[in-house]
Amino acid sequence: MGIRFILMVNKQGQTRLAQYYEYLTLEERRALEGEIVRKCLARTEQQCSFVEHRNYKIVYRRYASLFFLVGVDNDENELAILEFIHLLVETMDRHFGNVCELDIMFHLEKAHFMLEEMVMNGCIVETSKSNILTPIQLMEKA
């Protein structure tokens, strides 16, 4: 599975994007997000970006007001996931131009498409920004 879920959460703990690669019920998701947000948002800049949670790891990174949290299997490479998060942010940056929380809120679908291009079935399949964005731009035109 590799990646189990990707969350974007703001400072206040509101979820701005949630993408799961395994089916969870609403209640499970609510509980999970609550626990994770509580765990990760309390941490300081000087602490490491990895948190063990239940039987997997969460790799997170903060950009301005937004936290990007990725839940991964235990043998996943944490640093690679950090790079992945960064790539995601760069991609969104390129698309939206200096991306901010509002962009993601109002263009949630697009954010999802980018993720879909990058991650499939929990595996990272695409890491080139232009490869990710081309289909999205094409779709927009269509």
Binding site: L17, Q47, C48, F50, L79, A80, M120, I124, T127, A142
Partner: protein, 986 residues
């Protein structure tokens, strides 16, 4: 349109609806404004959506669905009710609508969604669409929601897409395969070959996808993928893409332990990457691969440790953390790596990140050995005093866990360890009561030599009234009480213990623990009376020495060969004539005795274990009165356990009181005193109590034959309803006895697991008693009860005579004592015997693996990889193998026959091979490898049309090779369990 406030007024006609429908954007804006509160706003929006989604206008419908998906995804709103509408929107002809539908489907559908049956055709249609975005949508959706049925029905389409020339689609098809395999293992037979072919693809996107898939597949069952090692090796050496390299490394981490020759081959390239790469992620992956799977390769490990060191001293907390993690992976095999970085590890132990601290703690515990356990524990306990409660308990927990591992394997000086436990109990944040309790009792039962010290520690805990106020300590106190009752013969002053057990502050204890106190008091009482009787007997026989012998006899009855006993014998009548006022005397003596405690254990001269003279008439009468007085109030207790135990004691006292007074009056005169009823009873009970309790094997219950007619597997659902009305008391937390036991009672009294029953599980019994009363018919004959019943201690009521001065002194002494131990762990001392139950201590879990889907997948993979030669051969004969899936399915069925015919050929092959010189084979192969590499590099430019052809050629080439190697090694065993790697290794 204005926010969300006034939207409910316009919705009469559908045109109006369409015109004035709120878009997703409006919804989000409205949510942000929050004029009427989020939940009210959302429910209003949902109301609208429910209406809009039924609209005939596709735009209105899809917008409604879009909004619903948004609310479902971010506001946890149920959208299962809209499943049918999702299907409708999915089948829309407009891409933008379809997109919304698909997104909603992947968000909300799961295996049990009924409408899934309806989408098969839609998916099939979209998978075959000429619009690659539609195909992509369908693939994406399939990767999230595919069920066995969907996977089965759509396998042909996926198969086709696996070799499509559209990279954009193909890479997604490759990723979907993983999910399809998981849901429908038979798809492996159809798709696997094409999947493997993609490994040779030079397109980086395809390669990334396919390596990702194999990484996942290999993590489930690495063995099946060994035959593909050469392809992975090529990627490892050639690829420049770090993402791909990381995945390949993960694959090798799984494969290498299975095949040493492979490990030997890949370890060098991995080290190369580790040395050369500038990417920390790749470097870390190399490190992780080496420490986890290549730990026998000295040079690689050394290199990895150097790199780990770099991570450890980095300022980035992430790297620090990962470095520590890598160290803890390697610690079991190469402890030197940890020791080398000892200072760093200790330094980060006080890092501000709890995760880092925790890793450090694990590492420190990994360094613990017989020789340094005392020192390290000392440092850690001191450190825990300064830590926050959470980490403090982590520390204590890991000390407890490490020291008790494997029946206290690393402990040599048990006296030290027991006193450490005593000390831990006094740490303010300590919440490890359960564990400490278990260990105190467990050691008492397993390690005979530690009992005197154990009693001292127990005494220290019991007589400190301050501890009674801390609920986390209650279970430790229960253990201490039990110890004091069980091993009272080592006490220098039983009266003092009795007083501690009966002190007024015990009212702070939960009833379950009080019951232990009461029972312990009973044991102490019996012990005192018995000692007294022995003493008076020997007095009557007018041999002063006997009196002592009588006492020590009792001790010896338990096979105790302690120094203190000997001293008892040697210095028999030290203070024969003193101490007629024991209750005062005892407290005055306290300090002296305390001082002596420790020395006694080392066999030096000191006061005897207890001065025989303390069992005087007055003291005994005093004792009895004290017990009576303290326990009186409990006769009205509602707790069955407390009540019953109190009654036992009081009745007993009733029984003996008259006689004993008489007998005591006549002391020194009546030779027949031993004939008396009272003393007989006392002796009997005393005998019963001195029956030694031993540890019970975890698997003990398994050895009990199941009685005929007992159905263990019977459905006990109805018990749940019974247990539901049976409330576990709040005191549960502090109950004495194995925690499991208590839980079991809560869930089902028939818990099949057998936990250590050897400990007194007081509350559990009381619960059981209650439960038994209620639901007697579910119970077996009461054997268990007897066992448990035995170990119970009693309690009493304390007059507040406990002198606070003594307590503080006590504390001081305790610390001094522990410091004393600290000075030099007494290594000269031989390790005492620890009772181990050979099979019993290891929980043997028979791992019965049901055949899972993974197994099916790997079975199929093996079949394809190892046995596929037959298939390849067939397909070679049929050049028109553009396999519609029906064909391939049929082929699967035919396979058996084909196999047979092939087998003959194979035998021929293998014979041919046998004639070849192995060295020539080796040469041939290495050439092969080179050739292949050439080909693949040469191919880069000319993907397109030629791709298919080349792939086919190459694959047949490769498969031929596989066949050769396989046949050569195991000619007759077509589906060999350990697939042989091609000779690329030789």
């Amino acid at each position: 349109m204005a926010g969300g406030v006034s939207s409910s007024s316009y919705y009469s006609s559908s045109i109006m609806e369409t015109l004035f429908q709120r878009t997703l954007e409006d919804l989000i804006k409205g949510l942000r404004l929050q004029l009427i509160g989020e939940s009210a706003f959302v429910s209003k929006a949902i109301e609208e959506i429910r209406r809009e989604v039924k609209s005939t206008d596709p735009h209105t419908k899809s917008t409604a669905l879009q909004k619903l998906s948004y609310l479902a995804s971010l506001h946890f709103h149920d959208m299962s009710w809209a499943a049918f509408h999702v299907v409708e929107v999915m089948s829309s002809s407009r891409f933008s609508h379809k997109r919304i539908g698909y997104h909603a489907a992947s968000l909300s559908f799961h295996d049990d969604t009924p409408v899934l049956l309806l989408i098969t055709n839609q998916l099939r249609k979209d998978l075959a669409s000429t619009n690659e975005f539609e195909v992509s949508l369908a693939l994406e959706c399939l990767s999230r929601i595919s069920t066995p049925d969907l996977a089965r029905d759509l396998t042909p389409e996926i198969f086709t897409l696996l070799s499509t020339t559209k990279i954009f689609v193909r890479k997604k098809a490759i990723s979907v395969v993983l999910r399809v395999f998981a849901k429908y293992p038979d798809a492996v037979r159809v798709c696997f070959k094409r999947l493997v072919e993609n490994l040779d693809n030079s397109d980086p996107q395809i390669l990334a996808a396919v390596v990702g898939v194999f990484c996942e597949l290999a993590s489930q069952d690495p063995g099946s993928y060994l035959p593909l090692a050469p392809e992975f090796y090529r990627i490892l050496v050639d690829s420049k893409n770090n993402w791909v390299l990381i995945k390949v490394l993960k694959i090798f981490a799984k494969l290498a332990p299975l095949e040493p020759r492979l490990a030997k081959r890949v370890v060098e390239p991995i080290c190369d990457h580790m040395r050369r790469t500038g990417a920390k992620s790749l470097m870390f992956e190399c490190i992780r691969t080496v420490v986890s799977s290549f730990s026998e390769y000295e040079s690689a490990v050394k290199l990895a440790v150097v790199k780990i060191r770099e991570l450890l001293v980095d300022d980035d907390p992430n790297l620090k953390y990962l470095g520590l993690q890598a160290l803890s992976v390697i610690a079991p095999k190469h402890l030197w790596a940890v020791l080398e970085n000892k200072e760093v590890v200790i330094k980060w132990l006080s890092d501000e990140d709890p995760n880092i601290k925790l890793e450090c703690l694990r590492l420190v515990m990994a360094m613990v050995s017989e020789s340094n356990v005392v020192e390290i524990s000392r440092v850690l306990v001191t450190y825990s005093l300064k830590s926050d409660p959470g980490f403090c308990n982590e520390i204590l927990g890991s000390i407890l866990c490490t020291c008790s591992r494997n029946a206290y394997e690393i402990i040599v000086d048990f006296d030290w360890y027991v006193s450490l436990l005593g000390e831990m109990s006094r740490i303010p944040h300590c919440q490890k009561g359960d564990e400490i309790e278990n260990q105190l009792i467990d050691m008492g039962m397993r390690v005979k030599d530690v009992r005197p010290e154990l009693l001292q520690v127990a005494r220290g805990l019991l007589i400190d009234p301050a501890l009674l106020g801390n609920p986390f300590l209650h279970r430790i106190l229960a253990a201490a009480a039990w110890v004091s009752g069980e091993y009272i013969e080592f006490s220098r002053n039983p009266f003092e213990l009795m007083e501690a057990l009966l002190q007024p502050r015990t009212s702070l204890l939960p009833l379950s623990v009080r019951a232990v106190y009461i029972h312990s008091a009973f044991k102490v009482l019996i012990f005192c009376l018995h000692s007294y009787i022995l003493q008076s007997e020997s007095m009557t026989s007018s041999f002063p020495d006997n009196l002592v012998l009588g006492v020590s006899e009792l001790v010896l009855k338990r096979n105790m060969l302690e120094g203190s006993d000997l001293t008892t014998c040697e210095a028999p009548s030290a203070h024969c004539s003193e101490g007629f006022n024991p209750s005062n005397q005892s407290y005055e003596d306290l300090s002296i005795e305390n001082g002596g405690d420790r020395t006694i254990n080392h066999g030096q001269t000191s006061t005897p274990a207890f001065s025989e003279n303390i069992f005087t008439y007055d003291s005994i009468i005093n004792l009895i009165n004290q017990v009576e007085l303290a326990l009186g109030p409990f006769t009205g207790s509602h707790d069955a356990e407390v009540f019953e135990r109190t009654r036992h004691i009081l009745c007993f006292i009733e029984l003996i009181k008259g006689e004993i007074t008489e007998c005591l009056v006549q002391k020194g005169k009546t030779l027949e005193s031993e004939e008396m009823k009272a003393s007989k009873i006392i002796k009997l009970i005393s005998d019963a109590f001195s029956e030694e309790l031993g540890p019970v094997s975890v698997s003990a219950q398994q050895r009990v034959p199941i009685p005929e007619g007992l159905l263990l597997k019977e459905n006990l659902d109805d018990l749940e309803t019974i247990c539901a009305d049976f409330q576990v008391p709040a005191s549960n937390l502090f109950s004495l006895g194995s925690p499991y036991y208590g839980e079991e009672v809560g869930v089902s009294p028939f818990g099949l697991q057998n936990k250590e029953e050897s400990e007194p599980s007081n509350e559990a019994t009381s619960l059981l008693t209650e439960h038994r009363k209620l639901h007697g018919l579910y119970y077996l004959a009461p054997e268990k009860n007897e066992i448990v019943g035995n170990d119970y201690p009693p309690a009493n009521e304390p007059k507040l005579q406990v002198n606070p001065k003594n307590d503080t002194e006590d504390l001081v002494k305790l610390t001094v004592q522990s410091l004393a131990t600290n000075k030099k762990p007494n290594h000269a001392k031989t390790r005492p015997v620890v009772v181990k139950l050979d099979e019993g201590d290891l929980v043997t879990i028979t791992a019965k693996r049901p055949e899972t889907k993974d197994d099916l997948v790997s079975g199929a993979v093996r079949e394809v990889l190892v046995g596929s030669d037959t298939r390849t051969a067939t397909s070679q004969r049929n050049p028109s193998d553009k396999s519609s899936s029906k064909r391939s399915k049929r082929k699967g069925k035919e396979k058996l026959n084909v196999d047979c015919s092939e087998l003959k050929e194979n035998l021929g092959d293998s014979e041919k091979l046998k004639h070849e010189n192995p060295s020539s084979r080796k040469n041939k192969h290495s050439i092969n490898g080179k050739e292949r590499r050439h080909k693949s590099t040469g191919k880069i430019g000319e993907e397109g049309e030629e791709n298919g052809q080349k792939g086919k050629q190459k694959s047949s080439h490769r498969h031929a090779r596989h066949k050769a190697s396989h046949r050569a090694d195991a000619p007759l065993n077509v589906v060999s369990q350990t697939p042989v790697i091609p000779d690329f290794l030789l």
